[in-house]
Symmetry: C2
Subunit: 252 residues, 2 copies
């Protein structure tokens, strides 16, 4: 259509995902059915929700015994104490605890509300979803399956919607990556005036995740998208590159 254009293509028709299923294979099958297919350079963005479902990262609240800390917080803010307990068990450090919200640092080093534990689009009244154990590994496994089935090396992003300080509204970000570097670096490069750019890097994996969200929607059951036409350096990358080091973090 236009040189340099980027396309965001929703992957429709995925079935409800269950523990133990091969998510990569189901994604490829859906891609083939929708005629989107897979092309070299494509980036596949997958919500953590279906990754967690495939990996069985679900917790049945009926099996959870809340601590007294969870009970008192839940009582103060009209929460389910069992769900608060799951949040605490997935929290390495509480960054803030106010207005009924727990901002957690997870074992991955992610900082987000409620350690990423949530209940939307999960089957079962008493079941919550937790973040995948190792979202980079989850992305890598999907990338490997896609390569085996299609012959193409795709970049893969596992995404979640996080809030941010200061700004209203959630945005989709990358919590796991495979086959792409999540930061695009400008160190030492020069602007149109020949001046060396001081900006260090753009978080392209987060921008790609946010772009994919535009075709997903919370209500539409579109938990995956292909981004086509984006020129990305295809190489090993880790979502850890997106995590600011504690000693440089001004908002611990």
């Amino acid at each position: 259509m236009s040189p340099g254009a980027v396309f965001i293509l929703p992957i429709a028709g995925l079935p409800e995902i269950h523990a133990g299923e091969n998510l990569g294979a189901l994604l490829v099958q859906a891609l083939m059915r929708t005629e989107i297919g897979a092309q070299p350079g494509d980036i596949l963005v997958v919500t953590h929700k279906i990754v967690a479902k495939a990996e069985g990262a679900l917790v049945d609240l009926r099996t959870v015994e809340p601590s007294s800390f969870a009970l008192s917080f839940a009582a103060a803010w009209s929460k389910d104490p069992r769900q608060v307990e799951v949040v605490l068990r997935h929290t390495k450090r509480i960054v803030r605890m106010d207005h009924g919200v727990i901002i957690s640092e997870t074992q991955h080093g992610l900082i987000c509300a409620n350690a990423g534990v949530d209940q939307s689009n999960i089957e079962g009244e008493d079941v919550v979803c937790v973040l995948p154990d190792d979202p980079d590994r989850s992305a890598q496994q999907i990338a490997e399956t896609v390569r085996e089935m299609t012959g193409h090396e795709l970049g893969v992003i596992v995404s979640d919607t996080f809030g941010r300080p200061w700004r209203e509204g959630l945005t989709n970000v990358a919590i796991g990556v495979a086959g792409i570097r999540p930061l695009r670096d400008y160190i030492g490069m020069k602007d149109a005036q020949g001046r060396t750019l001081k900006v260090t890097a753009l978080a392209i994996a987060d921008e790609l995740a946010g772009a994919a969200e535009l075709v997903m929607g919370k209500l539409d059951r579109i938990p995956a998208a292909i981004i086509r036409g984006y020129q990305v350096e295809s190489e090993a990358g880790s979502s850890r590159e997106l995590l600011r080091k504690p000693e440089l973090d001004m908002f611990r």
Copy 2:
């Protein structure tokens, strides 16, 4: 190509922008030359940099007398004291001041590094760019020009790249909007299991701005993009909806 697909189309061929020029008209001319054109429902994303240039939101550092506060901070961190002075003059409140970085709250209520003052892609050794006075008004003016010239009501987003707490890398966000609501609201809506969604809203204007950045690049002189195919509620909106109220902000 695929139902529900969204296209991100870079607008190439814009000339260098100067103070007093009609940016909306230049954008429409570039759209017509590149055959992208303008279609109903399109969203036009424009970097604040060219908006600021067109509005003359530039400061010649040779006219700036640094305060002693600016001088001492600049000396401690090897900065240009005149540029620090411009940052302070555009800062309503300093949120943090550490590692040589000033995190400012601007008069708009935006929270960002150095009050959005920067020097990249600006002509002139001693010139810096500041944020537009009223980015919503800037967006509105562009939208009006586009409507007059093409007959179509486009959503318009004025964007800037901001850092965020906890995560490395900048992402493009919306600092001004016209003709779209920046938040997409799910309050009271139900997920696939019929459970009422607790998530309040997605910051779609920020996701749109981030998506546009994917075709812009800092080095490519592509300061604008069209996003086509995204179903947005076309109505009056303000970038102020994206600003969290101080009383709800846990990271003041």
